[in-house]
Symmetry: C2
């Protein structure tokens, strides 16, 4: 794959070539399971062919809806949690101006906000104050429509919208992304006549960014979803077959080799603050896919060089059970050079005239060598730039590698049985009908 | 301490009471070292008495400077990295409206922005575009004035400011927080006549939030630094002596007991998104203080319930080497209830009329029980509300506990020798005078 390179030499050396080679052998079967649907969790493999299954008509429809929302709204609030939140957030943050919130937007531009990803009373109150008297719309994303966090936020925001513009007008400003046929949100949407999109049955939340779940918010934010899908499609083709050129296989094998060598924590390190939420998305993807049955690499993320001044000390000299995966972006968009100064009190004139990014790249290289010297193996993922095409490729790359990696680890990478535990307790403690007995038991323990 | 409670019952049970009791014995000596300056790193204990060493005149001076900047500027950019960034950021985010960036500010209000905490070419270019033609000021924070990240940002922003308002006017809009006597920034500030504040020699970066490093930006953002200091002072008095009522000792002992029991990763979990950056600040405080000599708890942080839908699966069922410290805020500021709906399609009517935060609290309790059932010991830190006083107490609590904890672990909690490694390599790769030979060696390895 020309777009994305994975450099693993030092990490393989560290983990042991024998381990890596054995995993490469196993990867043949893992990839086969993904392509043929013969492994655990095969009901949730819809994401594998998603980039080519999306039709021209579907993309055009998403674009038209996005255009309508952009024309009608200054703010569009996406209501969702987990996979119904992180993918869109990650792509939008990677593409947009980091100070967009402070900048005046032009007509037909729209700020995309998020809600329903927490149960913050102040968060929701402050959001509602912002939206008072403003032109806003809602994209509500939930397979069932009953997940507590988004359901609460949606009740409040829908109420507010209907009060501000009237029930009829509000109908045009709400879009629901939900199950094709069943569930509370589907029923509501059909009876109210909201525009809807379908979350495919065979695509789990954390793999859903290339469905309308991610594509609609990304389009509303003004980005090119066709290019995103095109990038993903290229990566899909490039990672279909096993072999040393399959970058997803490479990444999956090297991280499992390191895990077997005792490296239990993986730190995804970016050198570009726009990638912060891609790290959060990646944490869900890998943590939820692999963290089960008492095993799995613990996923952590840092923004560098920022966090070299916080987590840097630990990475350099703490417990030697970590490895690092560096996400490196070759080219920034802007061109900014370090000014020369007559007096060189801060001692920076030796780099005056250089692009800021040249310094960043030397920080990256210097960090890699320092961490390797400190006993932290470093994997490097190199992408040319942060545009829609590259991000689409990167997303699919991580998804595919995650499927392979989960099979190499010997788990079902497509379930998340542990996520229910807190919900059941919460329902019981809140006295939800059907949970009364459990509630009594839990209250005794508190 | 009435303000902050630490609940450890389950965690002590998990780690073993013997371990905890033994650590409590050791804590007597650790606290003595901190109070009497008889331990490792004693040159950096200025933070211990900081809350009572700050004078009325110093606070008044900070407030006056902040008022001047607020009147003159729509934006004040704080230029700093690590401890010269995270403390102020954490306090401001904990106190301010989460949608402040989108809201119009009144005259004499000011948005506080941050720069110099990364080497992002796009970040700086986008910031400079935002500031074009705007009324802005700069607080530059650096002991030496030569740290690469802030030095680059300061060159660019100072240039821009001088071009926009002229060299003379710019002098009134720049404040330097730096060494009392030496270093590049001190020299610059004195020769240019900028207002300055001193970073005390005996306070390390990660312990500096209660010096002007944190106080000035926090005051510029419009918050009450007297209350912040008052809260810290109360906590200082409450944690001076060893004993079961010393909450800092309690937290330090329980986390070391868990570490000894094989819990190598601590996840600080908030249930209030405003605390996200407090988690980042905490990661620096503990990671940099303890991550050395091949040991130390790996610090991670999550925002809940948000991340129950990303990291939740791993916490519930992944490798059993983690424990969780929950930061719980008793009372939100706003009062928002879940509306009743005629049709109860989303099934929320069983909690209609409840405050959002009641649901959040049940989510918290349910999560705690679920995680404990999953083999994750949970420590709970309870604070009454998120105001300046409480935050001051919380900050001092974490600092004091960190000092005790580092001594219990047997390291010098006040140095950070590993942070230099990447810098040296970066200088060498950039060809900084004096590093030429090292540069040749490193280039061969790349």
């Amino acid at each position: 794959m020309k777009n994305i390179q994975v450099e693993i030499d030092h990490a393989v050396y560290f983990a042991g070539e024998d381990k890596y080679n054995a995993l490469q052998q196993e990867a043949v079967g893992a990839i086969e399971k993904l392509e043929n649907g013969t492994g655990a969790g095969a009901d949730f493999l819809g994401w594998v062919n998603l980039p080519k299954d999306i039709t021209e008509a579907q993309l055009a429809d998403i674009e038209a809806t996005a255009k309508g929302l952009r024309e009608a709204c200054d703010y569009v609030v996406c209501v969702g949690i987990g996979g119904s939140y992180l993918g869109a957030k990650a792509v939008i943050e990677a593409l947009q101006d980091q100070f967009a919130a402070y900048k005046k937007i032009k007509p037909e531009e729209t700020h995309v906000l998020f809600a329903g990803q927490n149960i913050g009373e102040d968060y929701l109150a402050e959001l509602q104050k912002l939206l008072e008297g403003k032109k806003f719309g809602i994209i509500v994303i939930s397979k069932s429509g009953t997940t507590t966090e988004p359901a609460i936020a949606f009740r409040l925001l829908r109420d507010q919208l209907e009060k501000q513009v009237g029930k009829e007008e509000a109908k045009k400003l709400i879009v629901a992304i939900t199950d094709a046929q069943k569930g509370a949100l589907r029923t509501m949407a059909d009876s109210e006549g909201w525009k809807t999109y379908v979350i495919p049955d065979n695509v789990g939340g954390r793999f859903s960014v290339l469905t309308p779940v991610g594509l609609l918010p990304i389009a509303v934010a003004g980005f090119n979803v066709r290019e995103l899908v095109a990038g993903a499609r290229e990566m899909m083709e490039a990672t279909r077959h096993p072999g040393p050129d399959n970058v997803a296989e490479t990444y999956a094998c090297v991280r499992n080799a390191l895990y077997q060598a005792g490296k239990k924590t993986e730190i995804l390190a970016n050198f570009n603050p726009k990638l912060h939420y891609l790290g959060e998305w990646w944490k869900q993807l890998y943590g939820e896919s692999e963290g089960k049955e008492g095993k799995g690499i613990f996923p952590a993320a840092v923004d560098l060089t920022t966090d070299l001044h916080s987590m840097g000390q630990y990475i350099q000299e703490g417990e030697r059970t970590i490895f690092e995966t560096v996400l490196s972006v070759e080219r920034p968009f802007d061109a900014l050079r370090i000014p020369q100064e007559q007096q060189d009190l801060d001692g920076l004139n030796y780099i005056a005239g250089k692009r800021i990014d040249e310094v960043n790249k030397m920080a990256e290289a210097g960090t890699r060598l320092a961490h390797e010297d400190g006993g932290v193996p470093v994997v490097r993922i190199n992408v040319p730039t942060l545009d829609e095409n590259t991000l689409g490729a990167l997303i699919y790359f991580f998804e595919k590698a995650c499927g392979i990696s989960g099979y190499l680890l010997g788990v079902n990478p497509f379930d998340q049985p542990g996520v229910e535990a807190y919900k059941k307790n919460m329902f019981a403690l809140l006295g939800k009908p059907g949970y009364e007995a459990a509630g009594e038991e839990l209250k005794k323990r508190l």
